[in-house]
């Protein structure tokens, strides 16, 4: 029975072979869906910002210069993340360790920087409680910061795997997901920063 049909007698017939549907790694796919939900939260908040701003009674203030610094830090962290990913692809594991550690440190530095931003806002007498124009800035940066904390935790998990030599060119899934999430958080912040520059 284990041969192609021609040499057997008429008891044979061929049936159509259906295709296996296209599929990607379910975890990666779920991560993308999660990022969509995060996009929707910030889309809601930023459109609320614009709608609210359009109604007037909107306090004007200068954005703290520290925001440029933190934005620079997070852009740099994306670069180190990508360096780490490329190194892992080439199995240069020592470089991966350095890159992931650097990214983690830059992530923490960004969070610390955001606290300085909040301090600078307080010095300008822009408080969380007060005119919504200030409150929105706190909510947007705070909620983004909260997501970044989850990103840093993810980075630490990947870092531990890296130290155990579990991340290499044959086992990239975890690192790829972490990199995707990190670049996403970076892009999200840049969007928020540009949004604030244009609309504050």
């Amino acid at each position: 029975m284990n041969m192609k049909g021609e040499d057997m007698t008429g008891d044979l017939k061929l049936i159509e072979e259906p295709k296996r549907p296209m599929a990607m790694n379910p975890r990666k796919f779920a991560l993308w869906l999660f990022m969509i939900t995060v996009v929707m939260i910030f889309a809601a908040l930023t459109s609320a910002y614009i709608v609210r701003q359009g109604e007037g009674n909107w306090m004007l203030f200068k954005l703290p210069l520290e925001l440029w610094v933190t934005s620079g830090i997070i852009l740099l962290s994306s670069a180190t993340m990508h360096w780490g990913y490329l190194s892992a692809k080439k199995d240069e594991l020592e470089k991966v360790k350095i890159a992931i550690s650097l990214t983690t440190l830059l992530g923490v530095a960004f969070l610390v920087g955001q606290v300085y931003v909040w301090n600078a806002l307080v010095e300008q007498s822009v408080f969380f409680v007060g005119n919504p124009s200030g409150s929105f800035l706190y909510v947007l940066s705070g909620l983004h910061g909260l997501h970044l904390v989850s990103g840093v935790i993810f980075l630490i998990i990947v870092l531990i795997s890296t130290l155990k030599y579990k991340v290499h060119s044959k086992n990239l899934n975890q690192l790829q997901m972490c990199a995707t999430y990190w670049h996403f958080l970076d892009a999200l912040w840049i969007y928020l920063f540009v949004f604030l520059l244009v609309n504050h």
Binding site: D11, L12, E16, P21, P26, L33, A44, A48, V51, V129
Partner: protein, 624 residues
């Protein structure tokens, strides 16, 4: 006639080893289960509990509306201080009842109870997967829902009462504890509960979408998906896009309530004293809320429509009429659901031009909805209809979808809405088209898939009694409300009798209340039937409805992993009922066209190829 499959190319069923008989202990089997079927049952039982509670709450406030003079002292053992010394329902508690009835029914019954049950149960079974993409996330989804249920349940028993600003929780009413007692701790618990609920819905939704896209069995292309799966899939996408927006709205409300910000609050005086909040906008909340709120209507309705498609086609023994039109109209409804939210806000002082745009978009929804109704009716037309309880409930859904949908055309008009807004006309409209229709979809699903869930049949006679009482009852409750609403009576008001204009409706209200009590009582027939049949029902066969879809190819009581052997392969669409020339009046999706030469259409014969392009082929040897 036995057939043997010989796979010449490399066997690629990498997931076969995942199947194992699950002999976990009580905790891993029934409580912290990761099996989608058990999680579905957990959602169903929790949903039934909430449905009962939500129904009882509605009957309590119907007592007040129908019999305003009635002595309710006998409710004191349950409601305690909520019964005033005069033996009436406390007016603020009335508001809490209405709020909780809405919240419970919309979110806990018709979102979690409906999607949670049937998406979980049917997605892996009907697409041919061992389980959800992530069983752990699925378990978390249920337990977040459970935690959210516990918080909401506790809020019913606190001294200041549960949230009472309506299920839409508009600020400033919901933001200021000074406004109404329920806006104190009750509202805080409401918001915490909903935050947990949103997490649960998102975890579930991410899982549903991932599973449908990535884990379909061989041959299960999107054009061969049963309409149930299409409906659950689109529902999950709508939920994924809209619930985060509710989360954002709730977050800002939490900041306003607990941290003193002013996103939604401005220029408010209480007892002559000005609140410090400046610069907020309550309309902003309505925009954010209804951006979720309107899609939520379809999150509730689409799964019921999907279930109906499946049940009607199976029991009419006919292919669903216009499969592609059904998918297309659901897709169109899903897209439109995001751009019509402002029709809930016509009377908020919205720019009339903007209002007419939203009116136009709203009325367009009538097109795909009418397509669906047409297709249901044409599927029924001249079918060999078997009136099973599930079928009756599905036909009931179509009836409510028509009668409730027609009033939607009135309400979608920004001019007519000035008269009808927030009256009992609205209540009648959405209870028919969204509430009862979805509830009937849920019931149809339970009756239809009960044999697969519990391996036993529900009693059909009790099912018929349940159906007729509920069907007639629902119309008797909601039809009269149209008249009360057209007369202008506002919803959520404690008392009709305070206004002479509405005294004429006393008898009509009494009639509605009696009908509501009878309808609720009829649900106990279902409850008995459901729980009795789990243990004592007639044993089901593997495919009691002679249906084509994959779930009926599993054993009567499928284990963890669903199919004991290999996952079946799919060759045809799910609606081959009464195909001319076929041996039986249904051909399961797993039967290749090469085995049914008598019934194949010309283009189906072409699908039988000797060799496929990728040299992957199968030979079937008949061993006579």
């Amino acid at each position: 006639m036995a057939t043997a499959d010989i796979h010449i190319t490399e066997e690629t069923h990498h997931d076969d080893h995942e199947h194992h008989d699950d002999h976990g202990n009580f905790w891993t089997t029934y409580v912290f289960s990761t099996d989608h079927k058990m999680i579905a049952k957990q959602f169903l039982i929790t949903g039934i509990f909430w449905a009962l509670l939500g129904g009882i709450l509605s009957v309590i406030f119907r007592l007040q509306l129908g019999f305003p003079e009635m002595q309710l002292e006998w409710l004191r053992p349950i409601l305690g201080e909520w019964i005033t010394p005069e033996g009436k329902i406390d007016a603020e508690f009335y508001l809490a009842l209405v709020t909780m009835h809405g919240t419970i029914m919309v979110f806990f019954v018709l979102t979690a109870g409906l999607s949670g049950t049937f998406s979980n149960f049917l997605i892996p079974l009907q697409i041919g997967a061992r389980d959800m993409a992530s069983g752990f996330m699925n378990m978390l989804s249920y337990w977040f829902f459970f935690a959210s249920s516990v918080v909401m349940f506790i809020s019913l028993f606190i001294e200041t009462g549960p949230a009472s600003g309506g299920w839409v929780i508009y600020p400033p009413l919901s933001a200021l504890p000074q406004a109404v007692n329920g806006s104190g701790l009750g509202m805080t618990l409401w918001l915490s509960s909903m935050a947990l609920f949103i997490i649960s819905t998102l975890l579930g939704g991410i899982n549903y979408i991932t599973t449908v896209i990535n884990m379909r069995t061989k041959g299960m292309s999107f054009s061969k998906l049963p309409l149930t799966i299409w409906a659950f899939f689109l529902t999950a996408i709508i939920g994924l896009l809209s619930f985060p927006v509710l989360f954002a709205a709730a977050l800002l409300l939490i900041f306003d309530r607990s941290f003193g910000t002013s996103f939604y609050l401005s220029d408010i005086y209480i007892n002559g004293e000005a609140l410090p909040n400046q610069g907020g906008s309550p309309i902003l909340f309505q925009h954010l809320f209804w951006f979720l709120g309107h899609p939520e209507v379809y999150i509730v309705l689409l799964p019921a429509l999907g279930i109906t498609s499946e049940v009607i086609a199976t029991n009419a023994r006919k292919p669903i009429f216009g499969y592609k039109a059904m998918v297309g109209s659901m897709l169109f409804i899903a897209i439109l659901s995001f751009i019509v939210w402002a029709h809930h806000m016509f009377v908020t002082g919205m720019n009339p031009f903007l209002g007419s745009i939203f009116m136009l978009l709203t009325l367009i929804i009538a097109v795909p909805s009418a397509v669906k109704v047409f297709n249901y009716l044409t599927t029924l037309w001249r079918g060999n209809i078997r009136f099973t309880p599930g079928m009756l409930f599905s036909i009931g859904l179509v009836s409510f979808f028509i009668s409730g949908g027609l009033t939607g055309i009135f309400l979608g008009n920004s001019a007519i809405d000035i008269q009808l807004h927030d009256t009992y006309f609205v209540v009648a409209h959405f209870h028919l088209v969204m509430g009862s229709a979805s509830f009937f979809g849920l019931m149809a699903g339970v009756y239809h898939w009960f044999p697969k869930m519990f391996g036993r049949m529900m009693d059909a006679k009790l099912g018929y009694i349940h159906f007729w009482f509920t069907f007639v009852g629902v119309y008797m409750v909601f039809f009269p409300m149209h008249y009360i609403g057209i007369a202008g009576y506002p919803r959520r008001y404690y008392s009709f009798t305070n206004f002479d204009t509405f005294n004429t409706f006393s008898d009509l209200n009494m009639f509605v209340s009696i009908a509501a009590i009878i309808t609720l009582a009829a649900q106990f027939i279902f409850l008995f039937n459901f729980f009795y049949s789990i243990y004592r029902g007639r044993k089901a066969s593997a495919n009691p409805w002679r249906s084509t879809t994959l779930e009926w190819t599993t054993p009567v009581n499928p284990g963890h992993g669903n199919w004991p052997g290999e996952i079946p392969t799919v060759y045809r669409w799910p609606y081959d009922y009464s195909k001319p020339g076929a041996d039986e009046d249904f051909i399961p999706q797993t039967v290749p066209f090469s085995e049914t030469p008598g019934s194949n259409l010309p283009h189906e014969n072409e699908l039988i190829k000797l060799e496929t392009d990728n040299d992957e082929q199968v030979i079937v040897v008949d061993e006579k």
